[in-house]
């Protein structure tokens, strides 16, 4: 009988760093003074995330395994983990002023966010369905609390309740799927499961088909693909804006990370799988884009647009080639940056007023110095979400379409391209309202609400926009990293 040794802990050093940081933030909160606007906790959390990113870079290329082959630190998981941590850093920059303004200034916010990231990292770097399940739950339970953190606001309560009920419901499906797969293959370790399923006739066991379908339902809820998307708009609208940003970026990236890890690393695909995923991809894109068109609330529009973007990623999941998986990784990162940026701008108050509908945006670009910068940033994010050249969104879509055409998915690509055209209307509408409409009834509520300096947020958003443009003009570095990480997961 072998036991856990110290070398087992090396692959999870970044996770350990984050857990320690989270505990440290709690401790500092305990001994420090309780006045609201101190920046100790957010800076501490950012510092911890930076150290963890550094640790990941040290681990890169080492392919270390630990805990009886259940945890791996291969290039694939490291790249995704860095994506989560970068989104975490941006989330903190856009959170600080928001949580001070909205009376939710609990330091637990940062702690929960760090734990949520730890959950994502564990589930990405795990090769065992048990570990994936635990990581998924660490992530989900932390984010339930974050969504409901404004506990006196009724819409936030409602969003938290919907997220919790549907999240727990989907966990039930995921677990039932795992249990059926376990029954059919006798193991919860992914390599053993894949090896078993690659044998001829493995799919004649009805448990396998049911199990895989239930797993797709469980993961599908997390990444919000149609028809499991109903919670997304409600939750993103009701949740605090930075939390919505975090969920649309990091939680979705984590969902896609395990989707790739489970389904695209060797489980043979039947004709039925292709047909089913094909329909899901088209439905997800179309429903997301068409519903986004009809929204008047911008957060809701962004929620539907995040569903549409999940649809583009699903196109790559259908294709499933190495180039397609590379494009999924690239797109996850690109979407994380642009989605976070868009939500981040919405978290900044203008004249003491929160931006909610398109009408609130009217004349935004001329309202003041902060707004001028924010409007330029928002336009960058919108153009990138739209997929204009020189932005990360363009390269991401280009890669997905190219991979799809390469494998002969002509009509799927055409439908995806048509969907991009639909998205033109609602993304450009934001820019039109910001620059070309007059503000109605300005200054009214100026005194009614407190406004905290949003300089910290603007700095973070500027870095995000710079990242988008950099990824759009020089995509090669990141694409090469992504290709490297795709070769790390077995086929």
């Amino acid at each position: 009988m072998t036991f856990v040794t110290i070398s087992d802990f090396i692959p999870i050093v970044p996770e350990l760093i984050l857990v320690l940081t989270a505990l440290l933030v709690l401790l500092v909160d305990l001994v420090g003074t309780q006045t609201g606007y101190k920046m100790t906790s957010p800076l501490l959390a950012i510092g911890g995330l930076c150290v963890a990113v550094f640790a990941e870079i040290q681990l890169f290329g080492g392919n270390r395994v630990g805990f009886f082959d259940t945890i791996v630190a291969d290039q694939y998981s490291i790249l995704f983990e860095i994506i989560y941590m970068v989104t975490g850093i941006i989330t903190i920059t856009i959170s600080w002023h928001y949580i001070a303004e909205n009376n939710m200034n609990f330091r637990e916010y940062y702690v929960l966010m760090l734990f949520s990231i730890v959950g994502m990292m564990l589930m990405t770097s795990s090769l065992d369905l048990l570990m994936i399940f635990i990581g998924l739950e660490i992530m989900s339970i932390s984010s339930y609390i974050m969504v409901g953190m404004m506990r006196r606001v009724v819409t936030a309560n409602e969003a938290a309740l919907k997220y919790l009920l549907l999240g727990a419901f989907s966990t039930g499906f995921l677990l039932y799927g795992i249990s059926l797969i376990y029954g059919a293959t006798g193991s919860t370790q992914l390599p053993a499961i894949i090896e078993h399923l690659q044998q001829a006739g493995a799919f004649e066991n009805p448990l396998v088909g049911f199990g895989l379908a239930l797993l797709i339902i469980g993961v599908g809820f997390k990444v919000a693909i149609v028809p499991f998307h109903m919670w997304t708009p409600d939750v993103y609208t009701g949740a605090p804006t930075p939390v919505a940003a975090f969920m649309s970026a990091a939680v979705k990236a984590a969902g896609f990370a395990i989707l790739i890890r489970i389904f695209l690393t060797g489980i043979p695909h039947a004709e039925r799988w292709d047909n089913m995923m094909w329909v899901i991809a088209i439905l997800t894109m179309t429903v997301g884009n068409v519903m986004a068109l009809r929204q008047n609330n911008i957060k809701r529009m962004l929620a539907y647009s995040s569903i549409a973007h999940a649809g583009y990623v699903m196109v790559a999941v259908v294709v499933g080639s190495e180039a397609a998986i590379t494009s999924i990784i690239y797109y996850s990162f690109a979407y994380a940056l642009m989605g976070m940026g868009a939500f981040g701008v919405l978290s900044i108050r203008s004249n003491g007023k929160t931006i909610e509908t398109y009408e609130d945006l009217a004349g935004y670009a001329h309202a003041g110095p902060t707004e001028q910068v924010a409007a330029v940033l928002m336009s960058t994010f919108m153009l990138s979400l739209l997929g204009l050249p020189l932005t990360a969104g363009f390269i991401g879509k280009f890669q997905i379409f190219y991979a799809a055409l390469d494998e002969g998915w002509f009509w799927l690509t055409v439908i995806a391209a048509m969907n991009s055209v639909i998205s033109l209307f609602y993304y450009l509408r934001v820019i039109v309202f910001m620059y070309m409409k007059e503000r109605i009834g300005a200054q009214q509520e100026k005194e009614s609400q407190t406004s905290v300096s949003s300089l910290f947020a603007i700095t973070g958003l500027l870095a995000t926009a710079a990242g988008i443009v950099y990824l759009g003009i020089f995509p090669n570095d990141f694409v090469q990293l992504a290709q490297l990480s795709v070769t790390a997961i077995s086929f």
Binding site: I134, I141, T155, L164, A168, S179
Partner: protein, 100 residues
């Protein structure tokens, strides 16, 4: 000894009752109980498979499911409590501020 098929049929039946409960009942607490029923149905199927194959993995999995279900119940009940304080109702149909 009870055959494994019977255990699995019972677990599938309990799981379906749970799913139907979530979809049909309107009281938040009952919905939450139905979700717990689903998780426990999964536990039952794990026990069935683990006994059939004489492996420990399934049994260990159950412990983790129980722990996670407890954590979820803590968070869930506190969210339900805070929404009840604000709305004075437990009927999900009346939680309708966020729609379309």
């Amino acid at each position: 000894m009870i055959p494994t098929t019977h255990v699995l049929i019972l677990s599938a039946a309990l799981f379906s009752i749970g799913v139907l409960g979530v979809m049909l009942r309107r009281n938040v607490i009952v919905i939450f109980m139905s979700i717990e029923l689903m998780l426990n149905a999964v536990n039952l199927s794990f026990v069935g498979f683990a006994r059939e194959m004489d492996s420990m993995t399934g049994v260990i999995f159950i412990f983790f499911i129980i722990v996670v279900a407890a954590a979820e119940a803590v968070v869930g009940l506190s969210i339900i409590l805070s929404i009840y304080r604000n709305r004075q109702t437990l009927n999900v149909d009346e939680y309708n501020l966020l729609k379309w």
